[in-house]
């Protein structure tokens, strides 16, 4: 079976994370027309009704907020990947990064819920974001336990 080596896999993840960051930066510049396009889409994916100017501003603010949280999560992911590359997986800092990414997922879910006022489809995305956040918390708990075991193992004479 085709298997990518651990080192290459980490490098691919880092490259994808870097590309994601670039996409976020580009997204920040084209966000207003992007949001406008989303608002003007045919109304077959959710009931938007007539969005007022204030509503449009709220959608734009939420979109930027989501982008900021995504960028933050991406930074944490890169930091985590760099630690994995150095072989420092089961450490306190790794747990902090995973916890932070998990909280970012919950924050994004919250933003999706607010956007649900205008785009009902957002509730489904919020559901997935919450699921991802919970999954990450489970991974964090597993790594936390493994870190404890490793620490005990390291300090067994």
């Amino acid at each position: 079976m085709f298997k990518i080596s651990n080192k290459i896999s980490i490098n691919i993840s880092l490259a994808v994370a870097a590309l994601f960051m670039i996409a976020c930066i580009v997204g920040a510049f084209i966000m207003p027309p992007l949001v406008e396009m989303l608002i003007n889409l045919p109304d077959n994916i959710g009931n938007r009704g007539d969005i007022t100017e204030g509503g449009r501003a709220l959608v734009l603010v939420m979109a930027y907020l989501m982008l900021a949280v995504l960028m933050l999560a991406d930074i944490f992911m890169v930091l985590l990947l760099l630690r994995v590359k150095k072989g420092l997986v089961f450490t306190e800092k790794s747990i902090i990064f995973i916890r932070a990414i998990s909280w970012c997922c919950f924050a994004i879910a919250l933003v999706f819920c607010v956007l649900g006022i205008y785009f009902q489809l957002s509730f489904i995305l919020a559901f997935f974001a919450i699921f991802l956040g919970i999954s990450l918390r489970v991974v964090k708990n597993v790594i936390e336990e493994a870190t404890l075991i490793k620490s005990e193992n390291d300090l067994t004479v």
């Binding site: 620490s151 005990e152 300090l155 067994t156 004479v157």
Partner: protein, 66 residues
């Protein structure tokens, strides 16, 4: 809590950490962890070797305090 009195026994036997490390067969780093009360567990084999090297009982090295 468990207190390790390795330094006391070493002083009594006038034995250095290097010497004990060689006699017991564990690394200086691990012995230092034990001596400074940083260890979370100790193997029976290590305890046996230390007691043999220092010619003492387990209670001379390990002590329980409230």
């Amino acid at each position: 809590m468990i207190l390790i009195n390795l330094d006391v026994m070493m002083a009594k036997r006038k034995m250095s950490l290097n010497e004990l490390s060689e006699k017991v067969g564990i690394t200086l780093a691990n012995l230092s962890i034990l001596k400074n009360n940083k260890a979370k567990a100790i193997r029976f084999s290590t305890l046996d070797a230390i007691c043999k090297a220092l010619d003492c009982k387990v209670g001379d090295i390990i002590e329980y305090i409230e």
